[in-house]
Symmetry: C2
Subunit: 276 residues, 2 copies
């Protein structure tokens, strides 16, 4: 195999850099055969910091590497102009899109720094923290106290992906997600556990391929009965049967990322997001 | 006050839509005086779904609203072309940036759908789940078993923002973050709690304005001694004194979002991220 070519990529932002690195990353995943060394430089919100940042970027070329690529979301024009003077290949998201949007909306943009991940919206912030606390308090069937306040209750066998999904729903979307495990006793009885029976319309199932479940459980509890392929197969078959009987929607988490599970669930359950 | 003008905005993606809505949202926050009604349409990965999507977009105009704005990240050209035929004002992130990147890299992009939030990278996925489990197991000083495996241990008074920050670090960056509360007894003794004494170089503090802390605690435990401004002031002053004495870096979470706290911490502690 030929050696992969390498490129150094900077994500430069006047805020956290989370937006710019996410967009930049999604563009870079479209290129194969290149190894990207990705560096995020957040909080570049003054002319001084911009100059220091350009120094760091220009070092790459001086050190004999290929021209670095720089993705930016910068609202301040002075800062932006300094970054553009670097020796890098600069792709400026705001420059390209703010001008057409200004003309579409017929108003000037405010050029306010760091708006998108700031804590400005107190209501949104509170909703989010509340959702996180709710998820933690209602993880793994720990408490059924406030299931009536849940936006969604995830069900599924142990290690099917319920907890990460709930936390993501809370952090990213401010959605109150509880989760309740389907344990072997429930599966033998072929009945929903009592605490969730009254909330059928809010239940959403996660299932998983037995082979994948086996891998995950094997890491958690090596060579246990719990982790055998036979047991995983049995639990998954029974859980799917139960969900089908009870008319619970579900998806398979086997090849899905946390983001894909969460987004699909929000769409399927028509949940309203509390944060953007 | 004049009534705000309204615009309907769609985020259309062939994947989760998380990238496009984040970038779109960060652009929209630059416009004041307009109320945006934001709708995400994920998983538009076939020509059929694209036609249905255009139907939904075009309804907006038919219903007498202003022309909708559509932000897209679509890698398939057929899908993209259909969306462009809608009556909306379409801003296409990939179209604008993939072509210049192709020419910079000297290779064609792969046009593979839904790459950026897929579960393709098994190693990254495992690191992330492991970090989430670690955070949950080491929340609020619950266990000090594996502090030696922590990338960072957050310290601070109760309700200073430690838990959401740890969860975010795990989910977003795959960083193993534990947290340990500084309780009144620690503050009276003016000494670090025993379980974290050996990990001084990995400690990072969160502090918070006493007035803000009071608000948060008041909601949690109304009219308790714990929530009085006097008590909050005392705890915060003592905690800051302790951190200063022990040479622990810290930041104030008072006006910061979870993203801003996490990003600043990663930068301050020079932590290596395990996911992108």
């Amino acid at each position: 195999m030929p050696e992969k070519s390498q490129r150094i990529v900077f994500f430069v932002s006047d805020g956290t850099g989370i937006t710019v690195e996410m967009l930049g990353h999604s563009l870079l995943t479209q290129f194969e055969g290149i190894e990207f060394n990705q560096i995020t430089i957040p909080f570049i919100d003054t002319v001084e910091k911009a100059h220091a940042c350009v120094g760091r970027i220009d070092e790459v070329l001086h050190a004999g590497n290929a021209r670095p690529v720089v993705f930016t979301t910068l609202v301040n024009e002075d800062v932006r102009n300094i970054i553009h003077k670097s020796n890098a290949f600069v792709l400026d998201f705001f420059e390209r899109f703010l001008v057409p949007l200004e003309s579409e909306f017929g108003v000037k943009s405010t050029h306010t720094i760091g708006r998108s991940h700031s804590a400005m919206d107190i209501k949104e912030y509170k909703d989010r923290i509340e959702a996180i606390n709710f998820s933690l308090a209602h993880d793994d069937g720990v408490s059924a106290r406030e299931f009536s306040k849940a936006d969604v209750i995830l069900v599924g066998v142990s290690r099917s992906g319920k907890t990460p999904t709930c936390l993501y729903l809370a952090l990213q979307f401010g959605i109150k997600a509880a989760n309740y495990p389907l344990i072997p006793e429930d599966l033998e009885r072929m009945k929903l556990p009592v605490p969730i029976q009254a909330f059928r319309s809010r239940l959403y199932g996660l299932t998983i391929a037995p082979e994948r479940l086996r891998e995950i459980r094997q890491e958690r509890r090596p060579d246990s009965q719990y982790a055998t392929l036979e047991n995983c197969r049995h639990e998954v078959t029974q859980a799917e049967l139960l969900m089908r009987r009870e008319g619970i929607r579900w998806l398979s988490s086997t090849t899905k990322s946390i983001e894909e599970i969460a987004t699909t669930l929000v769409q399927d359950m028509k949940l309203e997001r509390r944060t953007f």
